[in-house]
């Protein structure tokens, strides 16, 4: 019968890496090139990221007149799914009163800027992960993670509609546009995140 301490020790032992036969280290490889590594393998600084994101958002406004937003399109996706199962979202008062673009004839996923950037963001992140050879499927490890995903997703969706946007549309586009709601949103999301941190520590970790 193993002693408890032995178990603990056994638990801590890490698998030793198998000798790397597949990689021929004498051969110069593309992904070891300094420029490639700096751009596509090593992480960028937060500052670099923030500035590039802001410049991309500016380019979006300059070219299309509308800035980066994420969650309005998620409401569209929900409505289109509802339509696909036989519902009629065009009767929702929300779209008539708040987002009339949804009811415009010929409007669809491929013509919605937010849907295109949303899909682009998933694919772009996948592309970056693959280019760095860092893509890996990360499994859900516990029931708490499932509960966190379900609850967090629902609350975020509802909150984003009430605030007319999210950390992108309200904060990253609204605030620099000099709309007052961006500033109000920034204070509110910070307070919500602080409360969420307390809940996270208490119930979800």
């Amino acid at each position: 019968m193993p002693l408890a301490s032995e178990e603990a020790v056994a638990h801590d032992v890490r698998p030793i890496a198998a000798p790397d036969i597949a990689n021929d280290n004498d051969r110069a490889r593309w992904r070891d090139h300094e420029t490639y590594k700096a751009l596509f393998v090593n992480p960028w600084t937060y500052m670099t990221g923030a500035v590039v994101l802001a410049l991309l958002n500016i380019a979006l406004v300059a070219a299309t007149g509308k800035g980066w937003g994420v969650t309005t399109s998620l409401a569209y996706w929900g409505a289109w799914i509802w339509q696909a199962v036989g519902g009629d979202p065009h009767q929702w008062a929300y779209f008539a009163e708040v987002k009339p673009a949804f009811n415009a004839p010929g409007f669809n996923l491929l013509k919605d800027a937010g849907s295109l950037t949303n899909l682009g963001m998933v694919v772009g992140a996948l592309l970056a992960a693959l280019a760095a050879s860092q893509f890996r499927v990360k499994r859900i490890k516990s029931r708490r993670q499932v509960a966190a995903a379900v609850l967090g997703g629902l609350v975020m969706g509802l909150g984003a509609r009430m605030a007319f946007g999210c950390n992108i549309g309200d904060l990253f586009t609204g605030l620099p546009s000099m709309s007052l709601h961006g500033w109000v949103f920034m204070v509110s999301i910070f307070l919500g995140a602080a409360a969420g941190s307390k809940l996270l520590v208490k119930y979800f970790i």
């Binding site: 949303n118 995903a149 997703g153 969706g157 950390n167 549309g169 609204g174 709309s179 709601h181 602080a194």
Partner: protein
Amino acid sequence: MTTLATPQSIRRPLRAPAVRKERASQLPWALVLLALVVAAGFYLVRAGGSPKFAFIWAIGIALGLTLQRARFCFTASMRDPVLTGSTSLTKAVVVGLAVGTVGFSAIQLAAYLKTGQLADAMKLAGLEPVGMHTVVGGFLFGLGAVIAGGCASGTLMRMGEGFLQQWLVIPFFILGSAIGAVTWPIWKAAFHVQPKGGVYVPMALGGFAPALVLQFGLLLAVYLLADWWGRRSARRAR
């Protein structure tokens, strides 16, 4: 002898780095995906009837790439000051907001100078109604994002990185958004929402100059506050 804990070692638990076999190159897959991305761009131009849609698609790809490369997480920028005391992401977000202000205000100013009407500049702003609903919605959003482990951009980025948790978040995020849209008459009445009730600061203050002074003044104040908080937390951790 004791080792001094640095903020770095507090965030990442002290342990020997795991010996890992270098992963096989995924570059071929990246190239295949890149080809598909370009093909999708051509398809979008045909389907939408305008090169604009390929441009938007390309911006989306670049946004996802940037988010992943910089490990940029808005949720963490709001959560870390509370949870770990780190504000490096928070400061980066503020810098991003300042850069955005420079670009957006230039675009708005150009529209204003063309016609002399602030209303024309306002059309280019990401203006939305503001009120109690912004406070409640923002609070709920921040709370949900921390629990779900990612905000709007973070969820989409992590889906691309292969996090199954975020693939579980997204259907409920969409469901929550749809519920928010369907229940609009209820919360519209509860919070007295004016659908056209946005406040464009240059309009409210009577011009660009006072609005920009206020904007950059506030951003600087937030930056300095975050910087002070980060230093204070690092000192306390020692």
